[in-house]
């Protein structure tokens, strides 16, 4: 596929911005784990400012920029249709300006509200406006992709959507459905309140709108990783995607079940009847199903690859996987971490069981295995891969990539184990524990273990950055004319596919219907049981802001 020079360079710029964000983010990650463990205690204002940066830069800026860039590549290479150049630039610069506005307000300590920005903690209006622009910029990318897809549909009547594009549609649908919630929260409540146009705000309503967005957000991060695991990894490992139909069903299930589940972040909240919390728990369990299918299908795809490489036996085939390949190393480490991340996620989703772990250190233990490893490592592997494919430069040192992937896996397993032990003991998350008077010496030991893991993770991230920058400094091997992504062939191909599996209106319609059904009673409860309150607070003073 010929890809225009501007797009190749713009995709790389998305990756640069993302990696720049994460470079700052991981430094604060290291500082937090040191401060929490008491090894190097930070003053609270810096700790929480750093925590805000860590969350916003890693989980929002890095992911959004990377995903938008990555999906441009997938869209053009699978559809062989051109994206609109003007919209690519408009989207990028809107997101960039948004990021700068939000970044400046955090760096000047005017938005130390963490990445959940729960009111009545009040940030400067620039923070909310910046976040809005970041999201609006991503919407422009979705618009661009949608127009391109619709043109492909017109030019290719009767053809079914190619597999990787099914994933792109799923990712962007989930994103659009998710961002409705946060857009209502920010545009109608937070911005007018932070500008002083309205005096009062309903914190519980804001939470509910935030988590409408907050959970599908994690699938917006995860599904691009699934895209790589399904459609690229099997080819790199020397095999095929086991089942094309399974992949399609999985991505469609995420469209349907990703959003009507937000209450599993709010099991401990007032003002919402427990029955609706149970309903959302049920749908959260349903959204675990496509991940179970993924575990099976990817394992089958890898087994096929290993057997083709000469592997045999019931289990010993895994020895024949390309463990030394950097791309494989990043993906397999991501997937191993995700096994534990997924299981701990089911614990979080488990309604009453959540009461033991809600807002404890268990939760960051969990999500550093999911977004912080499954997604993060996949994106790092893809960053090197795309840098090679789009710039034509040789990867600086593939072995260094392999090493950094496994090192992260070791680090995160230690880190998360320590954090989860603390969580079970009731030690909170998002807390500068180095200064907490209630920590016992035994608990301190678990936090030090977590810090050891955190230090290993940091070293791994530095090795990655050396490798990535080294790659950029390499000389161009050849002029890139064609961009070839290693898409895997399917072992079981889709034959006689019912048209319903290619009808996006139906699935998006069902998703919207489920959101309406699952959220109407919740908002009814919130409006009848909770109140608007006046005033806003800075994190630095218990007195209301003037």
């Amino acid at each position: 596929m010929r890809m225009e020079k501007y797009l190749r360079s713009m995709v790389m710029w998305h990756i640069y911005v993302g990696l720049l964000a994460i470079s700052v983010g991981v430094i604060f990650g290291l500082l937090q784990v040191l401060s929490r463990s008491g090894i190097y205690v930070l003053p609270p204002n810096i700790y929480y400012q750093g925590l805000t940066l860590h969350g916003v830069l890693n989980a929002v800026v890095f992911t959004t920029f990377f995903i938008v860039g990555f999906l441009y590549v997938i869209t053009e290479t699978t559809l062989k249709e051109k994206l609109n150049k003007g919209l690519v630039y408009l989207s990028f610069f809107t997101m960039l300006i948004g990021t700068l506005l939000a970044g400046i307000s955090i760096l000047t300590n005017k938005a130390t509200v963490l990445y959940t920005f729960y009111p009545p903690l009040k940030a400067s209006p620039m923070f909310y406006i910046g976040a809005t622009l970041l999201i609006v910029g991503s919407w422009i990318a979705v618009l661009n992709t949608s127009l391109t897809f619709l043109r492909w549909r017109r030019n290719n009547p009767g053809q079914k959507t190619p597999g990787p594009m099914v994933a792109v549609i799923s990712i962007y649908t989930v994103w659009m459905l998710a961002t409705i919630g946060v857009a209502i929260e920010v545009l109608f409540f937070l911005i007018p309140w932070s500008l002083g146009i309205v005096k009062s705000i309903n914190p519980e309503l804001a939470r509910t709108l935030f988590w409408w967005f907050g959970h599908p957000l994690v699938y917006f991060w995860l599904l691009p990783a699934y895209l790589a695991w399904y459609y690229i990894l099997p080819k790199v490992a020397g095999g095929k995607l086991y089942s094309e139909v399974a992949a399609r069903i999985v991505f469609i299930m995420f469209i349907v079940f990703s959003t009507p589940v937000g209450l599993h972040h709010q099991y401990s909240d007032p003002g919402i009847t427990n029955v609706w919390k149970g309903v959302h728990a049920f749908f959260t369990f349903m959204v675990a199903l496509p991940s179970f299918i993924t575990a099976f299908t990817i394992a089958a795809s890898l087994e096929y690859a290993a057997r083709k490489n000469g592997g045999n036996g019931l289990f010993s085939w895994w020895k024949k996987l390309p463990w030394g390949n950097y791309f494989f190393a990043y993906m397999i480490s991501a997937m191993i971490a995700f096994i534990f991340g997924g299981i701990s996620g089911i614990v979080n989703a488990s309604y009453n069981m959540n009461q033991v772990v809600h807002n404890t250190s268990w939760v960051p233990g969990h999500f550093h295995l999911t977004v912080g490893s499954a997604v993060f490592l996949t994106f790092l592997g893809l960053s090197l891969y795309l840098a090679n494919k789009l710039t034509g430069k040789k990867i600086f040192n593939e072995k260094l990539g392999t090493l950094s992937a496994y090192l992260w896996l070791i680090g995160v397993l230690i880190f998360s184990w320590g954090m989860m032990q603390l969580g079970r003991a009731g030690i909170p998350r998002r807390t500068n524990l180095g200064l907490a008077p209630y920590m016992t010496p035994e608990e301190r030991i678990f936090m030090i273990i977590a810090a050891v893991g955190g230090i290993i993770m940091f070293i791994s991230a530095v090795l990655f950055l050396i490798n990535f920058v080294g790659t950029l400094l390499n000389k161009k091997e050849k002029e890139v004319e064609l961009v070839e992504i290693d898409y895997a062939d399917a072992y079981y191909k889709e034959t006689n596919l019912s048209p319903i599996w290619d009808n996006w209106k139906v699935w998006i319609g069902i998703a919207i219907l489920l959101i309406i059904i699952n959220y109407t009673p919740v908002f009814y409860d919130v409006f009848r049981a909770t109140y608007f309150v006046e005033g806003g607070y800075s994190p630095f003073s218990p007195l209301p802001m003037k």
């Binding site: 609270p44 204002n45 929480y48 925590l51 729960y118 009111p119 009545p120 903690l121 309903n202 914190p203 519980e204 939470r207 086991y242 089942s243 139909v245 399974a246 709010q266 401990s268 909240d269 007032p270 003002g271 919402i272 427990n274 029955v275 919390k277 149970g278 728990a281 369990f285 199903l289 179970f292 299918i293 099976f296 299908t297 089911i346 488990s350 069981m353 959540n354 009461q355 033991v356 809600h358 807002n359 404890t360 009731g426 909170p428 998002r430 807390t431 500068n432 200064l435 907490a436 209630y438 079981y492 009848r528 049981a529 909770t530 109140y531 608007f532 607070y537 994190p539 218990p542 209301p544």
Partner: protein
Amino acid sequence: MDRYENIAIRAALMLIGVFFIAVIGLAILKGIDVPTCITDFPPFKEGKVIKLSDKEYQVQILARMWRFEPNRIEIPAGSKVIIYTTSADVQHGFEIEGKAVNLMAIPGAVNKAEVVFNKPGTYRFVCNEFCGIGHQAMYGEIIVK
């Protein structure tokens, strides 16, 4: 779709079903539940402990930057405690160590849980939602005698 894939999907569905039934079954049969919506208790302005009977207490926890009111509660062993939480300023959390009590304390809303303390001892409760620079020092104790 091939046979093994089919089996894997069915097995996953069954596993999920068992998990869900176990969780909800426990809520219904054993009463281990999450907080629900209450409308009969408006947000309060001060924290207090009210003795309802020898073995029953009502505790109104007012969370504020950066302390709980009250932050030291003494009750006899075997007491049932009905806990209400709300906040005077920003969002807080209220979590009792070793008990399945984990309540958000949200301004403009009231949350409720019931818990029985059979074993004597000191139970730590902490704020588990970020509430500003004093957050890490926000905790209290329930002393069961």
